[in-house]
């Protein structure tokens, strides 16, 4: 009932672990994969290791979290060795590798190294707190098209482009990724934000600014998915503040084929996937509608 085909990947449900959350190693990803999930995404990896920023790297705020981890990762070669144990059996949960690069050539090299162990590549074009990476390249449509195109030339597996909402018009970036050869878009990554401690009178995050995630950004994400759905012809994966089944259904109605869940785990733990799956199942049964029919249904202008 909830099975979907996302760019040729068969997912048992439309729920995907978002990048940056828990995806540091094979065993922990395996544990998440056993939680009623359609696919999992690794933490973002680059050509060489990055230590990440000094703490604090996360701050709880009203309706969400601010984080500035700084893309900590051991580098793509270490990741490739770690994930070589991932079960690539057709029935296993697909593994999406999140990558970043400051140039098209660098992104292509990272993608080529990790592609043999992954079902798809997600290009992080949107990390709001890593200078030279992520949003630094993801806000320029020409850079986005070039990076996606370079990765397209380097790998045969599906490519997802993860977009930032912190641009004037997300559809321009989405169309650039589509022209570059992306098979799907992921919208949205976190929003640039910050918090200040009034006792210490200092920014709370070690990196001063970070990215806001959680329920606070859901309406922004819904709008981004809604606009992208009208602008592109490739599937969209919705992401941003999903905590309940209702939230996930809202994204599907806006035009998402699948959804990513990350910060919601801080509120609900790993049972969040089962909770959302059950709610979606009940909704489809009660409404007598299929998941495929639900995609983008909010775009109808008349009854």
């Amino acid at each position: 009932m909830l099975e979907i085909n996302l760019c040729g990947m068969r997912l048992k449900n439309p729920l995907i672990l978002a990048s940056g959350i828990l995806g540091t190693g094979n065993d922990i990803l395996r544990r998440v994969a056993e939680c009623n999930i359609g696919a999992v995404t690794t933490k973002s990896m680059g050509l060489v290791s990055r230590p990440g920023y000094s703490g604090p790297s996360i701050v709880a705020t009203d309706c969400g979290y601010l984080n500035a981890m700084g893309l900590p990762n051991p580098g793509v070669k270490v990741f490739a060795a770690e994930l070589a144990r991932w079960d690539k059996h057709p029935a296993a949960v697909p593994l999406i590798a999140s990558i970043y690069g400051s140039t098209p050539a660098e992104a292509a090299e990272v993608a080529a190294i990790i592609a043999p162990v992954a079902a798809a590549i997600e290009i992080n074009l949107s990390c709001p707190h890593a200078s030279g990476y992520g949003l630094a390249v993801g806000s320029d449509p020409q850079s986005v098209e070039k990076i996606v195109y370079a990765v397209r030339q380097a790998v045969q597996i599906p490519i997802l482009a993860k977009l930032s909402p912190a641009v004037a018009d997300i559809t321009i970036i989405g169309k650039a990724a589509e022209s570059g050869g992306a098979d799907a878009l992921v919208a949205i990554n976190t929003l640039p934000a910050m918090a200040i401690d009034i006792t210490l009178r200092r920014p709370l995050l070690g990196n001063i600014t970070g990215g806001l995630s959680g329920p606070a950004i859901r309406p922004i994400a819904i709008r981004a998915v809604y606009e992208l759905y009208k602008a592109v012809n490739i599937p969209i994966v919705g992401s941003g503040g999903i905590v309940t089944g209702e939230d996930a259904i809202e994204f599907i109605l806006a035009g998402a084929t699948a959804v990513q869940i990350g910060t919601g785990i801080a509120y609900k733990g790993l049972t969040i996937f089962t909770e959302i799956e059950e709610r979606m199942r009940r909704y489809l049964q009660q409404e007598r509608i299929s998941l495929a029919e639900l995609v983008g249904l909010a775009h109808r202008m008349s009854l």
Binding site: L22, R30, I58, L200, G206
Partner: protein, 209 residues
């Protein structure tokens, strides 16, 4: 999680709580702890937490608290809890360290067993050499431990061989502390959220040699 402004945020366990005061016991090992040592009275730091799973508090069992080096710090907090809420049934304390000067809180915890690697205090050797004897002597029903991973590994085996449950507080580098970032993952377990105190069944995954 302890925030040292302008430096970093690091995971520390609580050493003692008295009224509104939280006491931390900090060993100078790196930049953040060096900065903590340099603080003066009136300086301010940030605190968030506590997070994750804590020690159990069995008051009807004979429990041995085993501290290896600075690992005694969170056990001290637990010992205070016993002193306050279960004064009639205090746990037995066993302390091990490299050398006499690394033994903390002896006067306050009144340990039944003291072991140092160099023999400068108590018995000479490793705490694990003498623990089976203590378990038999006091007829221990549970071990609660904190110390270096090798010590925890050995004590896990000793507990299994003695047929008693064990709880261990493990240490790992942490960033978020709330089960999101995956920095503190050991096998498939998160030290911040599934731990830092793990019970026998989880330790079976983490302590196998």
């Amino acid at each position: 999680m302890v925030w040292i402004p302008g430096c970093d945020e690091i995971p520390l366990s609580i050493s003692s709580v008295t009224g509104p005061n939280v006491e931390l016991t900090v060993v100078r090992v790196g930049e953040a702890t060096t900065r903590l040592h340099a603080l003066k009275i009136g300086d301010q730091i940030g605190l968030r937490g506590p997070y994750g799973q804590g020690f159990s508090f069995p008051t009807n069992e004979t429990t041995i608290l085993v501290g290896g080096g600075y690992g005694i710090v969170p056990l001290r907090f637990l010992f205070h809890h016993y002193r306050r809420y279960s004064p009639a049934k205090l746990p037995v304390v066993a302390l091990g360290a490299k050398t006499a000067t690394s033994l903390l809180f002896i006067a306050e915890l009144n340990p039944q067993l003291i072991v140092t690697e160099d023999g400068t205090a108590g018995k000479k050797g490793l705490i694990s050499d003498f623990l089976p004897g203590l378990i038999k002597q006091v007829q221990a029903q549970r071990l609660i431990v904190c110390g270096p991973q090798e010590m925890v590994n050995t004590l896990y085996e000793i507990a299994c061989n003695s047929g008693i449950p064990i709880e261990a507080s493990l240490e790992e580098y942490m960033r978020c502390g709330i089960g999101l970032c995956g920095s503190c993952v050991k096998r498939a377990l998160l030290v911040c959220n599934d731990g830092p105190v793990f019970t026998t069944d989880k330790l079976a995954l983490l302590c196998k040699l």
